[in-house]
């Protein structure tokens, strides 16, 4: 078939941020999958809570301080997260580097607090359905914390090498985007695990 050129795209950039890039949409797709997982796990909790005459089953609600400390830390982490996202958009490598180090450190502290949460949980996962569901909720979120921190470690290392330029700034931005999801997913779980049984 004959063809006729109607546009030339050679002046277009080779990478982009946010909605213009494929990776951002891919990240959003996986957030949708995992978010659905969170919604369903929360649904499981509510189903069990409303189908049992007493809730929580046989145990007092867990002490909220480790969860509250984690919540405060995660909410506070949004500030450096916004900053690293902006620095990535500005392609400011020194700033991206130290902010990534900071975000990674925050991630490790968050994981440590999560282990304290597990340690302080009185019902075990095999005590009864109440123990099972709160271990599931915390475990599900813990996998996301670990995944994001693992990603941050690799990305931080990458940005300290010769690869730390151009398209990698978009990767940093996408990593920051995923952290918003990890923080946002935690808030309803925090409420369910620590406050729902006593309110």
């Amino acid at each position: 078939m004959k063809t006729r050129v109607v546009a030339n795209v050679s002046s277009l950039p080779t990478y982009g941020f946010g909605t213009s890039a494929s990776t951002w949409w891919g990240t959003l797709g996986f957030c949708a999958i995992e978010g659905t997982g969170f919604v369903l796990a929360i649904g499981m909790y509510l189903f069990l809570a409303f189908n049992n005459p007493h809730w929580p089953l046989g145990f007092a609600p867990p002490m909220h301080w480790p969860g509250t400390a984690l919540t405060v830390l995660l909410l506070a982490s949004l500030i450096p997260n916004v900053m690293v996202d902006r620095a990535a958009h500005q392609e400011n490598l020194p700033r991206v580097r130290w902010l990534l180090v900071l975000m990674t450190a925050i991630g490790f502290v968050a994981i440590a607090i999560r282990f304290v949460e597990f340690y302080m949980l009185i019902p075990r996962w095999d005590s009864n359905a109440y123990g099972s569901i709160i271990w599931l909720l915390l475990g599900l979120h813990a996998t996301h914390l670990i995944t994001d921190v693992g990603d941050s470690v690799v990305l931080t290392a990458l940005m300290f090498t010769k690869h730390g330029r151009a398209k990698r700034f978009a990767d940093v931005s996408d990593n920051a985007f995923y952290w918003y999801f990890v923080v946002g997913a935690w808030l309803p779980i925090y409420y369910l695990v620590y406050w729902f049984p006593i309110l």
Binding site: V9, S10, L12, L48, N128
Partner: protein, 640 residues
Amino acid sequence: MPRAAAMPRPANQRDTGLDDAELRERLAYTWGRRPGIVGWLSTVDHKEIGRRYIATAFVFLALGGLLAASIRLQLARPEAHVVGPDLYNQIFTTHGSNMMFLFAVPVMQAFSLYLVPLMVGNRNIAFGRLGAYSYWMFLAGGIFLWVSFLLDIGPDVGWFAYVPLSGPQYGIGKRPDVWAQMITFTEVASMAAAVQTIVTVFKHRAPGMKLTEMPLFVWAMLVTAFMIIFAMPAVMIASTSLILDRLVGTHFFNPSEGGSALLFQHLFWFFGHPEVYIIFIPGTGMVSAIVETFARRPVFGHIAMIISLVATGMLAFGLWVHHMFATGLPELGASFFTIMSMTIAIPSGLQIFCWLTTLFTGTPVIRTPLLFIFGFFFIFVLGGMTGVMVASIPIDLQVHDTFFVVAHFHYVLIGGAVFPLIGATYYWFPKITGRMMSERLGTWNFWLAFIGFNVAFFPMHILGMLGMPRRVYTYQHDVGWEGLNLTSSIGALILAASFALFFFNMWRSARTGALAGPNPWGAGTLEWLAESPPLPHNFDQIPVVTHATPLWAERESLPIVSGISVNKREILVTSLTDARPEIREASPDSSIWPLIAAIATTVAFIASIFSPWAVVWGGALVGVTLIGWFWPKTIQEDLE
């Protein structure tokens, strides 16, 4: 060595200023597979992945068909001893699980992986390496199920594995774990492919292809991908919780410790009902493509069809409880699900009227693909009508767990998905292989399938109303079911013969079929612009789209864009709604890492049904392979 490999390769060589032959040669080299077995294992070309997916899914179709045949042999006469009750349990469970998770969903996604990038006018699917990973995970999950079956540890708890039968108390051994972990394999594969489809449709459409002007097949696969994203996490949570109950003693589904058996059913069917539409909606996309081409006109009511697809996808999430009417749920809630179940017939009916109008107002050309669509109309409408029947609670309670339900869902699934799929195979086979399938054998194939299917499954309606239960390995002489069962088994043999003919036709046509050329049917969508089979880069130049059927709208000369690299894999990223060019983005090069990551994931998944610690070390193992996957290998990758 290919001539293109010896050509000078400036980094930013664009598609301007090259003659047609050199352009094609350079692009084919850039996008082609590297030689050798490692090259074969490393490919990220959506066409190669799609072909492997389709071929593997058809192998699973044949294997599942053999199980179906053994079921019909066992039930052909009363008190038969072809198989015993334990093996029969494994056979019907593996048949159902195989057909749903290893054939029906994957084969539809396989067609999507192959066709969507071609239909939206781009050179590869988004995240090509993810597609390779998806395929290897699907293959591993399938092998896992079938090897387990051959080792006599095939699942034996039905394709929905209800607790407590599948729980720690009754589900002895590892059979239910095989079912549960096979789910994880296939759902990971499906969800990865769904993300690829969505991003490709949203961001990789050819310039000018507005969302409203996309081919209806692409729309169908987009809706399906969204349904996969929102439905499949439910079955993963259900199967993971089941494994946890069985492995580490959690009590999600144990009523004596505050758990609930009904919770499993809710989770399963929140996935399970949308699953039916995840299989059926791609079928409607195939019907639209075939009807349009053979009616020689665009589908009547293009926008109404899009709205129907989206409405079907959304309503499908409001029906799941109709699978649970017999569990004694509150009547008011159950009535809501009756209403929803009947409501979903409206968009489906609307689509059927649009197709019929297209055929009546077009100039239909009867070929094998269209024959299968006629078969689809007849069988699917019958299945839809029995669907409206079982949406009514009193009828559902009467026929629950009988062969009436078996008849209903085979009418819906084989009529709604397999007939369009076979038609679609005849339709797109020339594109995929470059050769036409035999029309004569195709006509035989259709009539054997149509007659065989109806003879096999229509008697099951009556058997169900006579009270014959599902999943019972035999029946007595004096219950009056012999004649209908024998009829059904004869029909199954005819149906099996039709599939044998179908596979033979494919095998023979791939070797000796008439050469097809780019557009043997005179179709209007972009996949027919590419060579048959398409070259590694799909199109020599990226088209600009001005119409829903661009090849019919631009018969004289096709508008194209220029300025895209030919010496590195570059695709055009466009805006969400009206497809304005935004970025020239790098498309991933071939890589062995998706295969390595899939092997690591397989080890972790299988080990984790034996030890919970496998999640820890297996997760670390997978993490290492993912670092290998994503770590850039060249400086050039950072710049693209």
